[in-house]
């Protein structure tokens, strides 16, 4: 029974073809690579993330890459390779926390707002839209700043600041989906048969709506990495003594660029680019794989396979405010 359910979940991945399959698996590979780095960081990293000396010898300042320090050392005498590897752990931790938090708040809120409707819905939509319109980095900075006095500048603070940015997105997607599902004949039928509201919401609405979540969550994870790095870059992220964070390292490296010191910024930067690309590909792949409409189209009629905004719609969603479906305009 359990196995059958699992294979039903995996079915879309097996059925997917061509480019989206490739995109999906490349994304999986990149993300898996970073997860492995994150989990085994203590074994893989040559030094600790805040270690500035070994065997009583202090690391060189801004030392160029050599045998002992493959990626060189930073202005703070840290070993770049170790910081990059430990940074993967920080990034994955923050992203997982932020995604879990935003799901835990955004999904129930969207479900409630969409299903109940009425005045509560209108007020929530207005507030969420207002937050959504706001430059997200500013929102994250201000919240991280306010929390830093109470929670310190660690993983949890960063995760909560990022959560504030993404809750409106989940809310929006889930709410709109609920509204379209709410009036479907099968939901109506369940209602007519006298199913209690709880059953309708949890079995018929949620199960349907939840399908759009994995792709969105993955694409948001990509975005969250960027937001975390941005926070770190501005000095409101994680402090260097708490954990290694790529954005902070880049901020310290900016002054090196003028002196031609490339290794302090290049490696953490590449780590960000690679991990974000990995999550993006994974999300795009999931989008194509899970969305049965796109799947059906790609096998049926090639000429109409490209629907307005169909390809990577969630990716566009995650980067900019969609305005009530006017975006894919045209005949």
């Amino acid at each position: 029974m359990r196995q059958r359910r699992l294979s039903r979940w995996l079915e879309p991945i097996r059925e997917s073809t061509g480019v989206s399959r490739w995109i999906f698996w490349i994304g999986v590979a990149i993300v898996a690579f970073f997860v492995i780095l994150a989990v085994f960081a203590p074994l893989l990293a040559p030094y600790g993330f805040d270690q500035v000396s070994a065997d009583g010898v202090r690391f060189p300042k801004q030392g160029s890459p050599d045998g002992t320090h493959l990626f060189g050392t930073t202005v703070g005498n840290y070993d770049v390779l170790s910081r990059v590897i430990w940074g993967a752990r920080t990034a994955i931790e923050v992203v997982v926390l932020a995604v879990v938090f935003s799901l835990a708040i955004g999904v129930p809120l969207g479900l409630f707002s969409g299903y109940v409707g009425g005045r509560a819905d209108r007020v929530l939509v207005l507030i969420m839209d207002a937050l959504f319109a706001f430059p997200y980095i500013l929102l994250a900075i201000v919240i991280a700043f306010l929390l830093s006095d109470k929670l310190g500048q660690g993983v949890v603070t960063a995760a909560i600041a990022i959560t504030a940015v993404y809750v409106p997105q989940y809310f929006r997607v889930v709410r709109n989906h609920v509204i379209s599902v709410r009036e479907e004949p099968y939901v109506d039928a369940a209602r007519a048969l006298g199913a209690p509201r709880r059953t309708i919401v949890s079995r018929y609405v949620l199960q349907n709506v939840i399908q759009s979540v994995p792709a969105l969550a993955t694409l948001n994870a990509a975005d969250a990495i960027l937001t975390l790095a941005a926070l770190g870059f501005l000095g409101y992220g994680i402090q260097p003594t708490d954990a290694a964070e790529w954005g902070y390292d880049l901020q310290r490296a900016i002054d090196d660029a003028g002196a031609g010191i490339w290794w302090t910024g290049l490696y953490p930067g590449l780590a960000i680019v690679l991990l974000v690309t990995g999550f993006t590909l994974l999300g795009e792949g999931l989008n194509d794989v899970i969305n049965p409409l796109i799947r059906a189209r790609s096998t049926a009629k090639p000429e109409i396979e490209e629907q307005p905004g169909g390809e990577g719609e969630a990716a566009i969603l995650s980067m900019e405010p969609p305005r009530g479906g006017e975006e894919p305009r045209g005949p």
Partner: protein
Amino acid sequence: MKESSGSSGLRTYVLTRLALALLTVLILLTVVFLLMRVAPGDPITAALGARLPAKELEKRKKEAGYDKPILQQYGEYLGQVVTLDLGESVTDNRSVTSILAENGTATLELTLAAFTITLLVGIPLGLLAGRYRDGPWDIGGRLYGIVIYAFPVFFLGFLFQLLASQVGWPTSGRASPIVEFDLNKVTHFYLIDTLIQGDLNAFWDVVQHLFLPALVLGLTISGVLIRLIRVNLLQTMRGDYVEAARARGVSERRVVVNHAFRNAMVPVVTVAGLQFAILLGGAVLTEETFNWPGIGSELVRYLNQRDYVAVQGIVTVFAIAVVAVSLLIDLINAFIDPRVRYR
């Protein structure tokens, strides 16, 4: 008859949209106000607590009205916004209005230049990708879109600074110190001010300083634009009127250029508006990367000094700007495209 119903539809739409924008601003202002009150301590103590004796602090608090009930403070804050007087920073006694005039223009100059670059890169690449679907331009454009999105502004900035340091191109500030000192800042837009002075050397110096930050910020946003133009072109290419033009024997070149391209460009207006908030957010990071004395780097500086008054003022302006731009875009769209009004 038809005319009049059309214009009343437009009027209703404009009024509703206006009311909605005002409401959104009010919500954002409330959020800003609440966030600033959640912050530990009152603004005066937070900024100056370590520097002034307790008595002096009390006096200043009273002067600034921080001992009044919170609702009254809220009302006064809203009043400030309406009268466009957002108070003075606690730490260096600059009025928020002058921060806007001096640093806001720097940000505006940067974002406008960046957006120009976004359009210069995004429109041709998007049109090429959509025109030659699944061809090298398309695959290249889409890959570029994904990869450029993954680049944080400051990492791209770092890479360009590495290159610039090799050729001696400036990577910091709005102009060389001497140029900046001599400049008569009339509009605070340095490109315009140097031209008013008729000093071409200074103008070139300003262009050099502006180029890298604008390029970096513009490129990071171009990916989304490429993507949208591509999808829109693909869609318009399937439109009936394109088919009809083809059937009439119009050359493929004319079909693409005159019929499809033009219609695919309509959403660019919308995108421009949607990107504005992202552009502002990106500007904060770009300014930090290139020491650009814009409003974003001022915000970060005031945050570090815990100057809540300045922070509140700047964030308020950001909020109003974002809502105003999105309102403007919707109104432009409503005038251009009658379908919007009847939704």
